[in-house]
Amino acid sequence: MINTWYLYLFFAAALVFAGLLGLLAKRNLIKLFIAIEVISKGVSLLLLGTGFAKGNILTAQALVVTFIVVEVSLVATALALIINVYRHTKCLDIRKLTKLKG
């Protein structure tokens, strides 16, 4: 019988690592943001998995709901920024943003 907490921690760590690898390897701005989303999935799985294993599911749920609302706000702002970057550079390549000129 595998410990449930172990299972959730294991998969949450895998998700966070996959997101970090994506952030390091990819060059498209939208792809980088999808990697950040994957990391946030890992974090919410970690929160709820720990709450489930330790018998604090209601507190964990409240935290996850708060986290999801913050995430949506972050996504809206970041995607607006990406659209603005695209209007300036006509490209989504992260390497084009190395010069901080308007």
Binding site: I2, N3, W5, L7, Y8, L9, F10, F11, A13, A14, L15, F17, A18, G19, L21, G22, A25, K26, N28, I30, K31, I34, A35, V38, K41, S44, L45, L48, T50, F52, K54, G55, N56, I57, L58, T59, Q61, A62, V64, V65, T66, I68, V70, E71, V72, S73, L74, V75, A76, T77, L79, A80, L81, I82, I83, N84, Y86, C91, L92, D93
Partner: protein, 160 residues
């Protein structure tokens, strides 16, 4: 337990696909599928509110925002990704999975967590009475998001 493990494996697979696929639209859709699986996992953990939020907001709203952005930023010349990614990513990921499986068991005792105990009341009680400050923070964050989007999309003045 077996169903839960299968769902978790599917979640990781679709998340990795979302990062690895070259077509942006396909990766946005696989991210949505991953969110859907995470929502089902939440439902099976007796966390219906978190599940509903995950499915409706993350799988629904965020996917729509992603697809909208992809449609608005359509370019002829695609961003050329590094060729190393195709074989370095799976290699590093499999190596991490092996290390994760070996190390996580010994780390389990050291990870700090809230002491287990029976929680009184319902989800509403915990959210409204226990975490009131979080809700105030949430409202502040939503307002900050709205104002930043408004600031980013405002029309230029003649003086600019």
């Amino acid at each position: 337990m077996i169903v839960q493990t299968a769902l978790l494996i599917g979640l990781v697979l679709f998340s990795v696909l979302a990062i690895l696929l070259n077509d942006l639209l396909r990766s946005a859709v696989s991210l949505a599928v991953a969110s859907l699986l995470l929502g089902i996992i939440f439902f099976r953990m007796n966390a219906p509110y978190a599940g509903v939020f995950e499915i409706s907001v993350v799988a629904g709203l965020i996917t729509v925002l992603f697809i909208l952005t992809i449609a608005l930023t359509k370019t002829d010349d695609e961003v050329r990704e590094s060729r190393l990614v195709n074989w370095v990513f799976p290699l590093a990921f499999v190596a991490f999975i092996v290390i994760d499986a070996l190390v996580m068991k010994s780390l389990l005792g050291k990870v700090p967590a809230l002491a287990s105990g029976a929680e009184p009341g319902t989800f509403g009680d915990v959210l409204w009475k226990g975490r009131t400050l979080d809700l105030v923070g949430q409202i502040a964050v939503i307002l900050a998001g709205v104002f930043s989007v408004l600031a980013l999309f405002r029309k230029r003045d003649k003086h600019d």
